[in-house]
């Protein structure tokens, strides 16, 4: 069969589609965006009418996925690592409700924080929730795992977390497809109160969850994704999780003298861990992300046999790569040439013609007399407004935090307190904060930067598109303090004046700088030609 050239994300998408998917849920975020996007563009998915529209945020996506599972269908919900924090309430409880139709929670972690605020490791969430997890090391596994994950999910009535990381999400390779499995028929859960977590029933479900843990370990021990490769030199054993396995093989090749345990399914396979621990003098743990396995093997008091990220054999933070794994294996460094000193960094920046640039120029002028430190902001292209030449915003914490932090600061008497949030982020997590602002009549100015699209992740439709004024008015913002401005240089004076007026107003103001993202604008212009 002809190979398809797929990104890791796309391989997951093709895998779930071929394994009987009925719905894909998620919010567009790097590095998981391409999973749902692939389903949205796939001809077979469209013909089958697989659900494939974006959700407002990861929590609603997770709950919608649970609903589809309740109805007996196979489903995937996608997010990035920090998105799992947003979905955590639903996610952790889903280990207690369990699944009816198979559920895959696909989470793309971003070690080295290429496009993220932290590098948390989602495998901890799987362990915490007592849920099985899978971690592919290549695109073919990313394709094949959904078949196994749905089987496991329906056998144990449990969601399965599938963890991928940036490098696999955004790397292409040839993938061979399997035979397609038809979608499940609609059916209610056999146990009618399975999804009812009243305390008495939750306690029963928790016992059930605890009781299957040993079975899940056995599944891992027998999993085709966990592989024990025998070795002749027992002075070292290597435990390589997910992508870590690739960097070992890159450096040692098939001739690796040491035993290798490749781990791609959790909970950890006890039998194989015992074997490698018993037969090898030292153990190198190679994991992409945080030292989860290493900490477990170390125990609280430590174990001098174990090396990895905790003892400095590998860096404590950041991604693995061929170089740092090579060093951990004590192999000689490859000769390299130095980068010429003339080369300077080229950080990302707002595009030429970006509407946010004009918004920030007006905000800076209106805020001149107050100095820096008054604009709470959020997550999106506009976060780049922190950088020169704008130097316009002061905070970026998590989706929606701009409004809530401005409210908290205003509660403390801090003046002026501005929030700058994008339209899509407002739909994701800004609306509930606005409700708080209105309720306590906080003295804040909220700028909802409406560029008509979710721009940073590659132009996905925003949930609140066309509804922002109505939402703000419906939540109780006075009509005369919902101001729409056009961020263009020729409107600069007018825009500065409006921002100043709203700063002067003691209460909740919303200013909506509205102009399409320059890429959307250019694309539409191109289509009109």
């Amino acid at each position: 069969m002809k190979k398809l050239m797929l990104l890791g994300d796309e391989a997951v998408a093709q895998g779930v589609l071929d394994a009987g998917l009925s719905g894909a849920y998620g919010y567009p975020v790097t590095p998981s965006t391409e999973i749902v996007e692939y389903v949205q563009k796939d001809r077979e998915a469209i013909e089958r009418n697989v659900h494939r529209t974006w959700s407002a945020n990861e929590k609603t996506a997770m709950e919608e996925a649970l609903g589809m599972s309740y109805a007996g269908k196979r489903v995937i919900v996608t997010m990035k690592h920090v998105g799992l924090n947003v979905a955590a309430d639903a996610y952790v409880n889903s280990a207690l409700t369990g699944a009816n139709g198979g559920v895959i929670v696909a989470v793309a972690d971003d070690p080295s924080m290429h496009s993220s605020q932290n590098e948390q490791d989602s495998r901890f969430y799987a362990k915490f929730a007592l849920m099985p997890a899978m971690e592919p090391s290549n695109q073919q596994e990313a394709y094949e795992m959904p078949f196994k994950a749905y089987e496991l999910s329906e056998k144990y009535h449990l969601p399965v977390l599938m963890r991928i990381t940036t490098r696999l999400s955004h790397s292409r390779a040839g993938v061979v497809r399997h035979e397609i499995i038809p979608e499940n028929e609609m059916h209610q859960p056999e146990n009618k109160d399975q999804f009812m977590l009243l305390p008495a029933l939750a306690r029963r479900n928790y016992q059930r969850l605890l009781a299957v843990q040993e079975d899940l370990i056995k599944e891992s021990e027998n999993s085709p994704f966990n592989i024990y490769k025998e070795g002749t030199d027992k002075s070292l054993g290597i435990i390589a999780c997910g992508l870590g396995y690739n960097y070992i093989m890159e450096n040692c090749g098939e001739k690796c003298p040491y035993p290798i345990l490749k781990i791609s399914q959790y909970p950890l396979p006890r039998k194989q861990i015992e074997k490698i621990m018993n037969e090898c003098e030292k153990i190198l743990v190679v994991e992409e992300g945080m030292p989860l396995v290493e900490e477990m093997l170390n125990g609280f008091l430590g174990n001098s046999k174990i090396c990895g990220r905790l003892d400095g054999t590998l860096p404590r933070a950041g991604e693995l790569n061929p170089q740092n794994v090579r060093k951990a294996l004590n192999l000689p460094e490859m000769p390299t040439q130095k980068m010429p000193a003339t080369v300077v960094g080229r950080p990302p920046a707002l595009c030429n013609g970006c509407p946010h640039a004009d918004t920030f120029k007006a905000v800076n002028e209106a805020m001149k007399e107050y100095g820096r430190g008054h604009v709470f902001s959020d997550i999106g292209c506009y976060t780049l407004g922190y950088l020169s030449p704008y130097n316009a915003i002061d905070t970026c914490v998590d989706m929606g935090a701009s409004i809530s932090m401005a409210v908290g600061a205003a509660d403390a008497g801090y003046f002026p307190a501005l929030a700058a949030i994008g339209d899509s982020t407002f739909g994701h997590s800004g609306m509930t904060a606005l409700l708080d602002a209105v309720k306590c009549n906080a003295n804040v100015v909220i700028l909802i930067l409406d560029n008509d699209i979710t721009a940073m992740t590659g132009m996905q439709e925003s949930q609140v598109n066309g509804k922002i004024e109505d939402v703000c008015f419906g939540m109780g913002v006075p009509k005369e303090h919902i101001r729409v401005i056009t961020p263009l240089s020729k409107m600069w004076e007018e825009n500065v004046k409006i921002i100043k007026e709203e700063i002067a107003y003691n209460g909740v103001s919303v200013i909506i700088p509205r102009r399409p993202c320059i890429h959307v604008f250019n694309k539409r212009k191109g289509e009109q030609k």
Binding site: K3, M5, L7, T30, P31, T33, E34, H114, S115, N138, R167, L168, S169, H170, S171, R172, A173, G174, L243, Y245, N246, Y247, M249, E250, N251, N321, P322, Q323, R326, E333, M334, P335, T336, Q337, K338, M339, P340, T342, V343, V344, G345, R346, P347, P348, A349, L350, C351, C381, L384, S388, M456, T457, G458
Partner: protein, 192 residues
């Protein structure tokens, strides 16, 4: 056979099209392939790179090790130099000489070109100029692909097929313009 290629440029300059065409050709030639891309925040005017690995054996790492690349193919000269640590001792650097200046501290052009010339094996062509000359200013990236084509160990007609596949849905005129740009880049590199 093994070719490890770093593709470099600035977000929006079209390195992923180069990667897709080489990738298509490599697949048609029955070779294994891995290609790591950069998505997300860095694409907004920042430096972007793609690791393209082609081999007749199994490829494990999605990333090329430093000191392991056989080729750097860059659409911008400073971006080419950024990845010199990836180049192996016999490796070649194929680069555009037209700068893309979107930062205030971009180095002096003379100093930059001196560094380009100091690289042992290189092909430096003014791809923007060549693309304009052949009447297809937007095909600068295909000029660079053409300049690199003799170093890829992939038959040239397969790269042509790659262009037809990549741009086919945009119409015959676009396909022809890109084919012409690639040929012009190939000729320019051979003339050096």
């Amino acid at each position: 056979m093994k070719k490890d290629i770093i593709l470099a440029g600035v977000g929006g300059q079209g390195i992923l099209s180069i990667a897709a065409i080489i990738g298509y050709a490599a697949m048609e030639a029955g070779l294994n392939l891995k290609q790591a891309e950069v998505h997300g925040m860095s694409q907004r005017g920042g430096d972007v790179q793609s690791h393209l690995r082609i081999s007749d054996k199994e490829i494990f790492s999605d990333l090329i090790p430093q000191g392991g690349a056989d080729l750097i193919i860059s659409v911008e000269p400073m971006e080419a130099l950024r990845y010199v640590p990836y180049l192996n001792a016999d490796g070649w650097m194929i680069t555009n000489t037209t700068t893309f200046i979107n930062i205030p501290n971009y180095p002096a052009i003379d100093a930059l070109m001196q560094d380009v010339n100091a690289v042992a094996h290189k092909v430096a062509v003014n791809a923007d100029e060549i693309a304009k000359e052949v009447g297809s200013p937007r095909s600068m990236n295909m000029v660079i692909l053409g300049a690199a084509s003799s170093y890829l160990d992939i038959p040239y007609n397969m790269l042509e097929d790659g262009i037809k596949f990549q741009f086919g849905r945009k119409g015959e005129a676009i396909v022809q313009a890109n084919l012409k740009a690639m040929q012009a880049g190939r000729d320019a590199a051979k003339a050096i």
